[in-house]
């Protein structure tokens, strides 16, 4: 079972805003023709520039895929531990189960928040890479007298997405710190739980599946 908290909604709202904004701003962006990397009218430097911009898109796509996979991994883990008691008290009801369960939930929750935030950043990163590619194509076409495009909206879009990405990335380090804090707490509780005679075999079973 997934447990939603207010932080998830914030991230989703942010992602929605970004996508909505990108969608709205796209209306102003002129359609820029694709330029071939083998176009003989372009200089070698221009082709390299184009290729670099295309590579950026590919890299951003790969980054998005990886971010999605990480979110899925943590979600799966969260679902697995959500369905059953992961820790059991030892003989004589030893070991603070609820404390350890809570810290595990919080830790996984923090991990999920971080991964989701990274996913949002990766999505914006991809939009930005695409906008940059558009900009590079437009600039190249203008420089080599192949076409004329109004550059202002294109540049504006790139700058806007940069700001969006900056905003999305700025909170990541804080989330990492949060994950780290929760991890430290979890393992501290885990060590105490084991010392008190708590049973961890269910945790191992869940992690072995």
């Amino acid at each position: 079972m997934r447990h939603w908290n207010s932080n998830h909604w914030i991230w989703l709202l942010l992602a929605g805003c970004v996508l909505t904004f990108a969608g709205c701003s796209k209306q102003k962006i002129p359609t820029v023709e694709k330029l071939s990397l083998r176009d003989p009218r372009l200089s070698l430097d221009a082709r390299r520039w184009l290729a670099d911009a295309e590579d950026e898109v590919v890299i951003a796509l790969a980054g998005l895929e990886m971010a999605e996979a990480r979110v899925n991994r943590v979600e799966t883990y969260k679902d697995m531990i959500g369905d059953e008691k992961v820790f059991l008290p030892g003989p004589g009801n030893k070991g603070n189960v609820s404390q350890l369960e809570d810290s595990l939930d919080t830790y996984v929750e923090a991990q999920l928040m971080l991964e989701e935030a990274q996913l949002v950043a990766a999505k914006i990163g991809l939009e930005l890479a695409r906008a940059r590619l558009t900009q590079v194509r437009a600039e190249t076409a203008i420089r080599f007298d192949l076409a004329v495009y109004p550059m202002a909206p294109i540049v504006e879009q790139v700058e806007t997405l940069k700001k969006e990405l900056g905003a999305a990335s700025s909170g990541l380090e804080d989330l990492r710190v949060k994950v780290e804090t929760q991890a430290a707490q979890l393992w501290k509780n885990y060590a105490n739980f084991v010392k008190q005679g708590g049973v961890t075999r269910n945790f191992w079973k869940v992690r072995s599946l």
């Binding site: 990405l165 380090e173 430290a184 060590a191 992690r207």
Partner: protein
């Protein structure tokens, strides 16, 4: 008629009805009655009788032909045909009798046969008698012998055959005769005689009967008890039969006549294919028959290969194997029996005999205790069983028996093999060096389990199988099988049918003291099974782990399977075993390690961390710590690595001090790595990189890492051109880390960055601040700040900076440089005394640069001799003097000479005239040398002063008062000469002046010298005067230019931003700042209007020469406004002609910046 007809019809109907009913009843009776048995003999006898009838007809026909052919040359053939027909008829009669006797015996008394055969013999003899030379003689004799044999006249037969052999040695019937004779002696047990006859056949190379003869000889050998001979002949028989017809090779069957089945051969036939005769496959028979002797003479382990080599067909091979198996069983030779039965089980048809073979194989193998092929043996036994079970004639009871028996055999073989493996003492026996192998035993178990998965013994067998696989190092498979054992033990145990229960009951009924069956303790059984299951799961984990530890190359699939299996078995074990201590620890570590090995590092990190905390200070716990760190490093999660590293190094961590010492450098390196990573991201184009880096810096704010992070952020801000952030971070460094080694560098960088943004006041402030921090760079920073101040007309501030820089370095090139700055500034301020004082204070560092300046300062003060000393050092000796120093020195020397010329006194004697002329020449030459220097100011001044010098020279010459002691004639001559010389000097003066004026007009170097030249009157005193800038009006903190400053921070060559900045400064009245910005604009590729604007800025700042130079260059670049500006300046200077000329060049309206007349003063 009708009645009659009707009666007839009625009668007919009745008859038909009765007949139909009778037919039906008969049919029914016939149909219901049991079928009469068909007597097969009747049919054969009928056929034989028919043949007899046909043969008799043929005899009659032949006789008729013979009667009609008296005297014909083919008569012998007709008689022969008749004899053969008689013999044939006799044969049919015999067969009829044979059939009548139900084939019970072949020894029959049939008079008709004897009569016909005797008739036949008589007919043959008659032919030989009447036609002794007939070509049919050998055949006739052979036929006679055949009939004699049929009639039991063996002596006569022998005589006839011997005569045939002797009389017709080349006859094709010779070998046949020998064969019959051989058989005759063989039957009479006269083996030597038989051998002689067979040998005669063999000795004939081309005989087709050689194979058969060898075969017969083989049997002779058997009967003589000579197995070597027998084997040799059987082998030869097979080989000879193969060679019998090269065209047909091995497929050819040699035909032969068996005793008692003779027929008349076709004498033309090369192959002796006697139609109707029973044939024998010599190759097959020889192969089968040789087995008896082979078992005695040869090694049993080679029997199978031997037979396979000789066998022409599979059928022959199988037949021989069967016989061989029986033979070995009889002589109790287990090696041979095992090999042969294995081959039989492989190849022989699926009939009941195979079960015997399986039993025999089991017996043989068990007797030998050689289980080296037990895997295949079990496979063969079970395959035989399966095939037999499919037999349609097998009922359920029999099938069960077969099944049970074979199950026992298979289990016995496999377990006995396992026992041998386990028993060290039975490694070797007389039958084999390697009685068992793990691979074969594992195979045997596998086949067993495939065949009997539900067997009562299946669990035990599976357990054994897994154990054997472990021993065979087939760990992956062993792991799987142990899991199978665990799974089987989870199911309820298979109920064992208690076959003795019935007996027990019976016994009970009889009242005997039969022991009651012990009640099964189900709880104890369940506990035992659970214990076994847990053990199996543990073994499974161990096996999987060993599989993963194997260095041998495993496929990806196998590795993945092993890991998955390990985790599943491990989890099951943990859930069921309630294990504690070492086993628990090992299992958990194995699970975690499987994730680590397969590259699932996120899972591995969690589980290995759990182990580190759960089992601290154990081998697994310590290894987990390292593996966690390595996992983070592998996935390049440096942040995670740093975090976990700190956690492990914390006070309450489970890690011991030694391990902490090991991971400390790893964590430190990771932190630096993380910082580098973030710095790289921040300095690149990656959005958000700076924020992350600053968050990192905040996190480590009290450590060196925090300092390095802020410094990296500072560098990144510099690289990205974000100057606001740069200043902010720079201030943060100074505030947060005031003792940082990089503080000076940070402030100086801020100063340079500010200068690049034309934030001059800020730049000066930072540079001076940096100078107080960074002692090494202090002098250069102060000089840079001073230069900026000087350019901004803060002469006092600049001088202070320069002097402080000079005090800092004191000696060396740095000191010279600082002193030059000081002296230059003093020079511009027009205070030669200060120059002299400053230089003389630092006499120890005096060089050509400073000497040239000191010389000119001394000259200005009138200390010509001291000046000459300094200037001469530069002109004559200083190789390192700069062109400017050279220009100054030459000009100064020329000025000294001119002073000497001016001061030249009255001529008191004629010799002084020559001296005067010499001074004039030296002065002219020294000015000419100064003119040739590259410095335009001193060059132009020298040219102007040259005009003045020649003028003075001319005046001096013209005003000479000649000595009185000269004669009139001499006086006239001297005066004429001096006059001419003076005249020449005046001409030269005018020319030089014109040249100077032209040069000034061309270059618009309209300084005092230039203006004097243009006005036509050479300067009467030294025209070189470096004018200071005007005081600065505004400061550089303009508003509205931040955008351009930011752009310039990112791209200092941004021409548009430079232009905007320059114009903004100019508009704000800060001409000094504008002058610097616009000069940079020109360097960055500015155009004519930029040059014009630079000129305006220079003009407004009081740099007239700079303004003229800029306007001149702008005019050359066709700037109309520059022409206008030049004309205004010329007008202001009083150079109206020049201004007029310039105005004439102006076309249309002038756009662009225009100076205000007099603003530059």
């Amino acid at each position: 008629m009708y009645r009659l007809t009707h009666e007839i019809k009625s009668n007919l109907r009745l008859r038909v009805t009765v007949w139909a009913l009778a037919t039906f009843v008969c049919g029914m009776i016939q149909g219901c009655a049991p079928e009469n048995q068909v007597i097969r003999d009747q049919l054969v006898v009928e056929q034989l009788r028919l043949r007899i009838t046909k043969v008799r007809h043929a005899e009659q026909e032949t006789r008729d032909v013979i009667a009609a052919s008296r005297g014909a040359n083919y008569l012998p053939e007709l008689y022969m045909r008749l004899a053969e027909l008689l013999s044939e008829e006799a044969s049919f009669h015999y067969m009829v009798a044979y059939e009548r006797e139900q084939r019970s015996t072949k020894s029959l008394h049939v008079p008709q046969v004897r009569f016909l055969k005797e008739q036949s013999i008589n007919t043959y003899r008659m032919i030989l008698q009447r036609y002794p030379d007939t070509r049919l003689a050998d055949r006739i004799m052979f036929n006679i012998s055949h009939e004699q044999r049929e009639l039991g006249m063996f002596d006569e037969m022998k005589e006839t055959l011997e005569k045939l052999i002797v009389d017709y040695p080349d006859s094709p019937y010779r070998n046949e005769a020998l064969l019959v004779l051989g058989d005759f002696h063989f039957d009479k047990m006269e083996f030597e005689k038989a051998r002689e006859n067979f040998d005669k056949i063999i000795n004939q190379e081309k005989s087709l009967l050689r194979g058969l003869a060898h075969y017969k000889l083989g049997w002779v050998g058997v009967n003589l008890g000579n197995c070597k001979m027998a084997l040799k002949n059987f082998e030869n028989a097979i080989v000879a039969s193969r060679k019998g017809s090269p065209e047909k090779a091995l497929t050819k069957k040699v035909q032969m006549r068996l005793q008692g089945d003779f027929a008349i051969p076709d004498d033309d036939s090369d192959e002796h294919e006697f139609a109707g005769h029973k044939t024998v496959n010599v190759q097959r028979e020889a192969l089968v028959d040789l087995t008896y002797c082979y078992a005695q003479e040869r090694k049993p382990e080679k029997a199978v290969a031997y037979l396979r080599n000789l066998a022409a067909t599979r059928e022959a091979y199988v037949a021989a194997l069967q016989k061989m198996a029986n033979r070995y069983a009889l002589v109790e030779q287990p090696r041979g029996a095992a090999d042969v039965t294995r081959e039989l089980l492989r190849l022989a048809p699926d009939d009941e005999e195979r079960l015997d073979d399986a039993r025999m194989l089991h017996t043989a193998v068990s007797k030998m205790k050689d289980y080296s092929m037990v895997g295949e043996d079990v496979y063969l036994v079970l395959r035989t069983m399966k095939r037999r079970l499919m037999a349609p004639d097998l009922n359920a009871a029999s099938a069960k028996l077969v099944r049970n028996e074979m199950e026992l055999i298979a289990r016995d073989l496999a377990t006995k093999s396992h026992e041998v493996l386990m028993s060290k003492s039975q490694k070797k026996n007389k039958w084999t060096d390697n009685p068992a192998s793990y691979e074969q035993t594992a195979k045997a178990y596998r086949w067993y389990l495939n065949a009997f998965p539900e067997s009562v013994a299946a669990v035990d067998v599976m357990q054994n199988y897994a154990d054997v696989l472990m021993e065979a190092k087939e760990y992956l498979e062993a792991g799987r099988r142990y899991r199978d054992v665990a799974a089987m033990l989870q199911k309820p145990p298979v109920e064992v049918p208690d076959e003795k229960a019935t007996d027990t009951k019976t016994k009970d009924a009889k009242g005997k003291d039969a022991a009651k069956p012990k009640p099964v303790d189900k709880k104890a059984l369940a506990q035992a099974r659970k214990k076994e299951r847990v053990e199996a799961l543990y073994n499974s984990v161990v096996a999987y782990q060993k599989s993963l530890d194997q260095i041998t190359s495993r496929s990806h699939f196998e590795r993945a399977a092993a890991r998955a299996g390990l985790r599943a078995a491990g989890a099951q074990y943990l859930m069921e075993a309630n294990a504690t201590g070492e086993k628990d620890r090992k299992i958990k570590f194995a699970i975690a390690q499987s994730y680590y090995d397969e590259g699932s590092y996120h899972n591995a990190i969690d589980l290995l961390t759990a182990i580190a905390y759960e089992f601290p200070q154990t081998p697994q716990g310590d290894a987990s710590v390292h593996m966690v760190l390595d996992s983070y490093r592998t996935i390049n999660d440096i942040s995670g690595l740093v975090n976990i590293g700190h956690r492990f190094m914390a006070k309450d961590s489970p890690v011991n001090a030694e391990l902490k010492a090991q991971i400390q450098p790893i964590v430190a390196a990771a932190e630096q790595n993380r910082l580098d990573e973030l710095s790289l991201a921040a300095s690149g184009d990656q959005v958000g990189g700076m924020e992350t880096l600053l968050s990192f810096a905040d996190r480590y704010k009290d450590s060196d890492l925090g300092e390095r992070a802020v410094l990296s952020a500072f560098v990144a801000a510099r690289a990205s051109g974000n100057l606001k952030q740069l200043y902010s971070l720079g201030e943060r460094v100074l505030k947060q880390f005031p003792k940082s080694e990089q503080a000076g560098g940070v402030v100086s960088t801020m100063g340079r960055a500010a200068a690049a943004r034309f934030e001059f006041d800020r730049a000066i402030k930072y540079m001076e601040e940096a100078a107080t921090i960074d002692k090494e760079q202090k002098a250069s920073l102060l000089l840079a700040a001073g230069e900026l101040r000087e350019q901004l007309a803060d002469s006092d501030g600049a001088l202070k900076n320069y002097r402080e820089a000079l005090e800092t370095v004191k000696e060396g090139p740095g000191a010279v440089n600082a002193l030059v700055h000081v002296v230059d500034l003093l020079e511009k301020r027009g205070s030669p005394n200060d120059v002299i004082r400053e230089v003389q204070k630092h006499e120890q560092i005096l060089d050509a640069e400073l000497s040239s300046r000191l010389g000119l300062a001394l000259l200005k003060k009138g200390e010509n001799y001291e000046a000459e000393d300094q200037l001469r050092k530069v002109v004559e000796g200083a190789v390192d003097a700069s062109p400017q120093a050279q220009a100054r020195a030459n000009y100064g020397m020329a000025e000294i000479n001119l002073k000497m010329l001016e001061d030249f006194g009255a001529i008191e004697e004629i010799g002084m005239i020559e001296e005067l002329i010499g001074v004039i020449d030296v002065t002219v030459q020294s000015y000419l040398a100064a003119v040739r220097q590259v410095d335009p100011v001193y060059s132009q001044a020298a040219l102007a002063r040259l005009a003045r010098a020649t003028e003075i020279g001319a005046e001096k010459l013209e005003k000479i008062q000649l000595p009185a002691d000269l004669s009139e004639e001499e006086r006239t001559m001297v005066k004429q000469a001096l006059g001419a010389r003076a005249q020449q000097l005046r001409v030269d003066s005018k020319e030089v002046l014109a040249e100077c004026a032209q040069r000034a007009k061309n270059s618009f170097l309209l300084d005092a010298a230039g203006q004097a030249c243009i006005s036509g009157s050479p300067p009467r005193k030294d025209p070189v005067a470096l004018e200071p800038l005007k005081s600065r009006r505004s400061k550089s903190n303009l508003s509205g230019v931040d955008e351009y400053r930011d752009r310039l921070s990112k791209n200092p060559e941004d021409l548009e931003a430079l232009r905007k900045m320059g114009k903004a400064f100019l508009d704000a009245g800060d001409a000094h700042a504008a002058r610097l910005v616009l000069a940079r604009t020109i360097e960055a590729g500015g155009d004519a209007e930029d040059l014009n604007r630079l000129g305006v800025a220079c003009y407004n700042a009081g740099d007239l020469m700079g303004a003229l130079d800029a306007f001149k260059r702008a005019m050359d670049a066709e700037s109309q406004s520059a022409v206008k500006n030049l004309s205004i300046i010329c007008e202001d200077m009083g150079l109206r002609d020049v201004a007029k000329e310039l105005n004439s060049k102006i076309k249309g309206d002038v756009k662009g910046d225009i100076i205000k007349k007099g603003a530059g003063r």
